[in-house]
Amino acid sequence: MRVNDMKRVYVNEKWCLGCHLCEYNCAFANSGESDMVKALRKKTIRPNIVVEEDGDINFAVSCRHCKDPICIKSCISGALSRDESGAVTVDKNKCIGCLTCVLVCPYGCIRESDGGVVQKCELCLRNTVGEPACVKGCPNRAIVFEER
């Protein structure tokens, strides 16, 4: 299991335009739809990456895939685990929606989803994109996917 040498999504906040495109790309990537308009139009999106604002600065927050993830240690059902690539993933088939993980994630990066389960960034490794859609679509390289 990779932990120390895995690629993660990192933020270069000084490049962030605050355009929120990553949120839309994330929601689309995880929608299971092939048409972006169909997937997102007139819907409240629930992205796994959220752009925050601090005065003039914007920055995108998504799961840190922590080295010692307190969400995994706290999950009451065993639905959270770390896969071979190092990504912290949720088994929605096991999750019971108790939100204990939401109560412990220090960065607010795991959230309630539809259908009584939670959702989180899985680095797009389990959807059809295969690499983080937020990074791929960022116009200004304000988020990157790399090893640090």
């Binding site: 906040e13 920055f59 059902s77 019971i96 108790c98 109560l103 960065y107 607010g108 795991i110 640090r148």
Partner: protein, 410 residues
């Protein structure tokens, strides 16, 4: 090769196994499991009755867990005696196991209150184990009235789980409110109203004085007829093995921040252990899944010669009923910031420049940011708490924090 023995097979035991294996891949691990089941998620027994999970999906770890971790489990065996001098555990079956390092992860047992006539009640259940849930299920039918004694977490979760499977549920509790150990009056009233909306009836500040057949006579004089009875008044930590061996116990087995007990080479974790609540400094039994696992992991690492401490344990709960979530953490002391929201309430308790605890009902999104403030003892004047208290986010932590957490490995 070191010889590890773990008594119990719940979340704390899993933590211990994974903790040991993070340090020692060679040593021999033996688990003594009174329950004849692969480790399952105890809190999921109510969801099982509700039909939201099944026996396979509710396993706390995958089926190959013991094999992968090379742990031998003695299913259906119970430890009867601990001899810390000889470093030996004797099982009820007579077999003796010696250990180099032992973890007691025996959990707790439902406390059944002494009530006149209780013994004569036929369809009587506790709600603690998978076997309990299955036995209760056998007694349920769409025409059944169920009386649950205890409006705590276990009693209410049981009520939610069986709501659609019986005709009527009455929950009584000696306390004047629901979830009395974690909620104060207003917050409890909110949850109670929601639960009543689901169809659960309450008799609070009242308890059963005696049973006669299928009727419970309450202290208030009221009579409640029922077909099925569930007792969920509380649990008691399983401390006897350690107590009888001369180890220090309070309400639970006393353990330090390494999860070590007063006995040499004996560790304790989970619902059977009493550890320090960082928000009050008091030693407590904090019977929750996260601490069972984390404490077990800490014990396991130390048993195997590693070094891990649990300095920031705190009571916390996330409990939801049909869409309304309630989160609580820490101690409700000091100044209180309160905000009423559309569906609920938020109360943050601060003292000595620290966040000490909170109650949030309704909008619980990103609440972990608050929990992290408590656990990390973050001085509140080091960030913009005025903004943070309204909405949990990372912006109020400032640039340095962001660069560290979002720009590097954490």
């Amino acid at each position: 090769m070191k010889n590890y023995v773990i008594i119990g097979n719940g979340a704390a035991a899993v933590g211990a196994i994974e903790g040991i294996r993070s340090v020692d891949s060679e040593g021999r691990i033996t688990v003594i499991s009174a329950e004849n089941h692969h480790v399952y998620s105890r809190p999921l027994i109510s969801y099982l009755l509700e039909g939201r999970t099944d026996e396979k999906r509710m396993l706390y770890r995958p089926e190959d867990f013991y094999e992968k971790n090379r742990a031998e489990v003695l299913f259906g065996e119970k430890a009867a005696k601990l001899d810390p001098k000889a470093k030996k555990v004797t099982l009820e079956s007579g077999r003796a196991l010696s250990y180099d390092s032992l973890c007691v992860a025996t959990g707790s047992t439902p406390f059944v209150p002494p009530i006149d006539g209780l013994e004569s009640v036929k369809n009587r259940h506790s709600f603690m184990t998978l076997d309990d849930a299955e036995a209760l299920e056998r007694d349920l039918d769409p025409e059944a009235s169920v009386l649950i004694i205890g409006a705590g977490l276990i009693g209410l979760k049981c009520a939610e789980g069986i709501l659609s499977r019986c005709k009527k549920i009455t929950v009584c509790d000696l306390a004047p409110r629901v979830l009395s150990s974690i909620l104060d009056g207003d917050c409890a009233a909110l949850m109670q109203a929601h639960l009543e909306g689901l169809g659960i009836e309450f008799l609070l500040g009242d308890t059963v004085e005696k049973f006669s057949g299928k009727t419970a006579v309450m202290k208030s004089g009221k009579e409640v007829s029922f077909d099925v009875l569930v007792t969920a008044v509380g649990v008691r930590a399983n401390v006897s093995l350690v107590k009888d061996a001369g180890g220090e116990v309070g309400r639970g087995i006393l353990a330090d921040s390494k999860m070590k007990t007063s006995l040499d080479d004996v560790y304790a974790a989970g619902d059977c252990a009493e550890i320090t609540d960082m928000t009050s400094g008091e030693k407590k039994v904090m019977a929750i899944m996260p601490l069972a696992y984390i404490g077990g992991h800490c014990a396991g690492v130390n048993m195997a010669g590693g070094d891990e401490s649990l300095e920031n344990a705190l009571p916390m709960n996330s409990i939801g009923f049909a869409g309304l979530h309630c989160m609580t953490a820490g101690s409700y002391v000091g100044e209180c910031f309160e905000e009423k929201t559309e569906r609920g309430i938020k109360r943050l308790y601060t003292k000595d420049n620290l966040l000490k605890g909170f109650i949030i009902i309704g909008d619980v999104d990103r609440a972990g940011i608050y929990t992290s403030l408590i656990r990390n003892k973050t001085p509140l004047d080091s960030l913009d708490f005025e903004i943070l208290k309204k909405s949990p986010s990372l912006a109020p932590f400032g640039k340095a924090y962001r660069l560290e957490k979002l720009g590097g490995e954490v």
